[in-house]
C-alpha cells in the first residue's frame, strides 16, 4: 500500500529573541518526526501542550515552513514547493479547525463561506451551480440547505463546526487535517460531530490527520495513533492496541490521567510528577526521562531508536520490552 502522505525527519524550530537566559536559542517545537498516512486512513496525533501536534498539522497543511525534513504528498515532494506549485495540493488537503469562524468575516453568509474555496480555486462555475453545490454540501453535513443565506452568528457551535466541515469538503479533498475539531464543543454536541466526521471519512474514503488532546476521542476516531511529547514521537500503534497495551511510559501516564465517567473506575492513578521541560533546552537522550518512573542512566545518553513491539507498533523507549 503506497502512502498518500509521507513525512520524514520533520523539524521545526522557532527563533526566540535573545533574552537574559535564552540568548536567542530556538524553541524546538518539532524534532525529527516521521510518519505516513495511507489513503482512507485516520492517523491520530495526541499529546499535551508543547507536544508539537498543532505545529505538525500546520506544516503538513504547508501553512508553515519546516526547518528540515521532507513532506511528500501522493509521491510529490511539496516541502519547498512555491505557492503556485502548491495549488493542486491545496485542493486535495483541507483543514478543519477548532473554531471555523474565529478568523472569518462575520458578514459573510454561510453560502459565501462554504463556497469560498471553490471561488479561490476558480471552480465556481456560475452562480446557480455554485449554490447547488453549497446546498448539497450543507445537506451532506446535516444542515438545512434553506439556511444558506444566514450569517455565522445565527448558528450554534455545533452547527458552525458542521459549516466548517462543509467548507473543507467543498474541494472534494483526499485528506483532511482536523486540529482539535471537536474540543470546544459541548458534550452533547461533540458526539454528533464525531459521528459525522467518522461517517463522512468512511463514506468518502478520506485520509485524515486527527489532532486532539482527548485520548478517548482520538482512539475512537483514529485507525492508528502517534503519541507526541516535547516535539518527538514516543509511540505509534493501531488505536486499540495503544490503549490496551501501551509500550511507552509516557503513553501509560497519559492513559492513567484520563478520567472516565464512571465512579467505580477510579483507578490507582499514576500522576505524572513535575513540569514539562523547556523546549528551548530539552533533556538529552530521551526527552521524557526527567519525568519517567522507569528512567535509568542510559536514557540520558542517546535519543532512543524505535523498537518494534508488534504489527505496526513502535515505541521510542529503551526499556519498552520490560513494560
Amino acid at each position: 500500500m503506497t502512502a498518500l502522505l509521507e513525512v520524514e525527519g520533520l523539524v521545526r524550530h522557532f527563533a526566540t529573541p535573545g533574552g537574559l537566559f535564552a540568548r536567542g536559542r530556538p524553541v524546538r517545537a518539532v524534532e525529527d518526526v516521521s510518519f505516513s498516512v495511507a489513503p482512507g486512513e485516520v492517523l491520530g496525533l495526541v499529546g499535551e501542550s508543547g507536544s508539537g501536534k498543532s505545529t505538525i498539522g500546520n506544516l503538513v497543511l504547508r501553512l508553515d515552513e519546516p526547518t528540515a525534513g521532507t513532506i511528500r504528498f501522493d509521491g510529490q515532494d511539496i516541502t519547498r514547493a512555491s505557492e503556485r506549485g502548491l495549488q493542486k495540493f491545496r485542493r486535495r488537503v483541507q483543514p478543519i479547525f477548532q473554531d471555523p469562524f474565529g478568523s472569518l468575516d462575520p458578514r459573510m453568509t454561510v453560502e459565501q463561506i462554504i463556497a469560498e474555496p471553490l471561488v479561490v480555486h476558480g471552480l465556481a462555475r456560475g452562480r446557480a451551480a455554485r449554490r447547488a453545490r453549497v446546498a448539497e454540501l450543507m445537506e451532506t453535513v446535516g444542515l438545512n440547505a434553506g439556511q444558506l443565506t444566514r450569517y455565522p452568528h445565527q448558528f450554534s457551535g455545533g452547527q458552525r463546526q458542521r459549516i466548517g466541515i462543509a467548507r473543507a469538503l467543498a474541494m472534494s479533498p483526499d485528506m483532511i487535517v482536523a486540529d482539535e475539531a471537536v474540543s470546544a464543543l459541548d458534550v452533547s454536541i461533540q458526539a454528533q460531530i464525531v459521528n459525522l466526521l467518522r461517517d463522512l471519512q468512511r463514506r468518502l474514503g478520506l485520509a485524515m490527520i486527527f489532532i486532539a488532546h482527548d485520548l478517548a476521542v482520538v482512539e475512537y476516531v483514529s485507525d492508528r495513533v502517534a503519541v507526541l511529547y516535547l516535539g518527538r514521537v514516543m509511540e505509534v500503534a493501531p488505536a486499540r492496541q495503544i490503549v490496551r497495551t501501551p509500550k511507552h511510559p509516557y503513553t501509560q501516564a497519559l492513559l492513567s490521567a484520563v478520567l472516565e465517567p464512571d465512579p467505580e473506575r477510579k483507578r490507582v492513578r499514576e500522576v505524572l510528577q513535575g513540569e514539562l521541560p523547556s523546549p528551548i533546552d530539552p533533556p538529552s537522550g530521551c526527552v521524557f526521562r526527567t519525568r519517567c518512573r522507569y528512567a535509568i542512566s542510559e536514557c540520558a545518553t542517546a535519543v532512543p531508536a524505535f523498537r518494534t513491539m508488534g504489527e505496526g507498533h513502535v515505541s521510542a523507549c529503551i526499556r519498552a520490552a520490560e513494560l
Binding site: E48, S49, S156, G157, G158, Q159, D186, V187, S188, I189, Q190, A191, Q192, V194, N195, R198, D199, H213, D214, L215, A216, V217, E219, Y220, R240, V243, R244, A253, L254, L255, S256, A257, V258, L259, E260, P261, D262, P263, E264, R265, K266, R269, V271, L272, Q273, E275, L276
Partner: protein, 334 residues
C-alpha cells in the same frame, strides 16, 4: 437554624438583553454540608456559572440581577446570612475570608503586574490583619502546601513567569490563603492538559481534607465529576434536572438528559464498530426560546405530548436523596 453550610432556595437570576429578560437561573435549590464536594454538571447556557457568581455576589448588575430566592450561608461565627440580601461591603469581607473562588483561566484572577507573593499577601493583609512578615511566611507556606517547587523564589515571580499548571496552583494558593469554609471552583481544570488536570484534582481533594472545606465544583466533564463528587447536580436551561449521590447519578440515572450525556462520551477501549456514539440530537437551548413544557423535550427520545410538552415537570424524589425533573421517569425506568 439550618445545619447546612450553604442552603440555596429557589434562586432566580435574570439578565436583561436586547430581546427581553432572560432567566439564566430559574428556581434552583440545593444545599451543601461542611467538608462536602458538590459537582454541578452542565453545558454552555445551563446556568451553572451564573449560579456560582450569584453565591459570590458577583452577578454583573446591570444587566443581571438576583430576582428571587435565598442563599443561606453559615458564617464562621455561627450566624446564618442570606447572601442574596447581603450588602456589598459585607460580601467583600466574606469573599476570600469565608467563600473563595477559582476559575478556568488563572490569568483572569491574577494581576500581571504584581508578583504572586504580593497577591497572596494582599488577601491576608486585607482579611486577617497579619503583619507583613507573618503574611509572607503564611504565603510561602501556602505555596509549599500547593506543591510549588522553590516556593520562596516563586513568591517573587510574576504570573507570566509560571507555567499554566503553576499559575493554577498560585491562584488556588491565593484563594485558600484565608482558609475559606467554601470553595467554588468553576471549571478550574478545563484548560489544563490531562496530566496537569490529574495533579490539580489530587491537590484540591487533599487540601479539602486538610482544611475541611466544602467545594462546589462546576464542570461540563462527567469524568471529572465521577472522580471527585460526593453529590452531583445536573443543570439544564437554568434548572436542576437531576440531583443525587454520585453512585446514584451514574448507576441509577433517571433523567434522559443525564443518560444522554453519559452515552455521548467516548470511552477508552470502546468498540466503535458496534454502533456510532449515541449523540443527543438538536442543539443546546437558548433561554430566549425555551418550550413551555420540559426544557429537554425537543431533544428527548422519550418525549410524549402529554405530560412532557404540557407543563414543566417538578423536581421530584426518585430514590434516597435522589431527585429528577422528568414526568415520565417511572415509565422510562420500568
Amino acid at each position: 437554624m439550618s445545619a447546612k453550610l450553604l442552603d440555596v432556595r429557589d434562586l432566580r437570576v435574570e439578565f436583561a438583553t436586547d430581546t427581553g429578560v432572560v432567566p439564566a437561573v430559574a428556581g434552583l435549590s440545593f444545599a451543601i454540608d461542611a467538608g462536602e464536594t458538590l459537582v454541578i454538571v452542565g453545558e454552555s447556557g445551563s446556568g451553572k456559572s451564573v449560579t456560582s457568581l450569584a453565591i459570590m455576589g458577583l452577578v454583573p448588575r446591570p444587566p443581571g440581577r438576583i430576582a428571587g430566592g435565598e442563599m443561606l450561608f453559615r458564617t464562621r461565627d455561627g450566624r446564618v446570612r442570606d447572601l442574596a440580601q447581603t450588602n456589598a461591603a459585607e460580601m467583600q469581607r466574606l469573599r476570600g475570608a469565608e467563600i473563595a473562588m477559582i476559575f478556568q483561566e488563572p490569568m483572569s484572577a491574577l494581576n500581571p503586574v504584581y508578583t504572586i507573593g504580593e497577591q497572596i499577601t494582599e488577601t491576608l493583609l486585607l482579611h486577617e490583619r497579619l503583619g507583613k512578615r507573618a503574611a509572607r511566611a503564611r504565603s510561602i507556606e501556602m505555596l509549599t502546601l500547593l506543591g510549588i517547587p522553590e516556593p520562596a523564589r516563586r513568591f517573587d515571580a510574576y504570573p507570566h513567569q509560571l507555567s499554566g499548571g503553576m499559575r493554577q496552583r498560585a491562584m488556588i494558593a491565593m484563594a485558600l490563603s484565608c482558609r475559606p469554609s467554601l470553595l467554588i471552583a468553576d471549571e478550574p481544570t478545563t484548560a489544563l492538559d490531562v496530566t496537569v488536570q490529574a495533579q490539580i484534582l489530587d491537590l484540591i481533594r487533599r487540601l479539602q481534607k486538610e482544611l475541611g472545606m466544602a467545594v462546589i465544583f462546576i464542570t461540563h466533564n462527567l469524568g471529572v465529576a465521577a472522580e471527585i463528587a460526593d453529590r452531583i447536580l445536573v443543570m439544564y436551561a437554568g434548572q436542576a434536572v437531576e440531583t443525587g449521590p454520585t453512585q446514584a447519578i451514574f448507576r441509577e440515572t433517571r433523567m434522559p438528559y443525564t443518560t444522554g450525556l453519559l452515552a455521548s462520551v467516548p470511552r477508552l477501549g470502546m468498540d466503535r464498530d458496534a454502533a456510532p456514539l449515541q449523540a443527543i440530537p438538536g442543539n443546546v437551548p437558548s433561554f430566549s426560546d425555551l418550550p413551555p413544557g420540559c426544557a429537554f423535550a425537543p431533544r428527548c427520545a422519550h418525549v410524549r405530548p402529554t405530560p412532557c410538552e404540557a407543563r414543566r415537570p417538578d423536581l421530584e424524589p426518585c430514590g434516597p436523596e435522589h431527585a429528577v425533573r422528568c414526568a415520565r421517569w417511572r415509565e422510562i425506568a420500568a
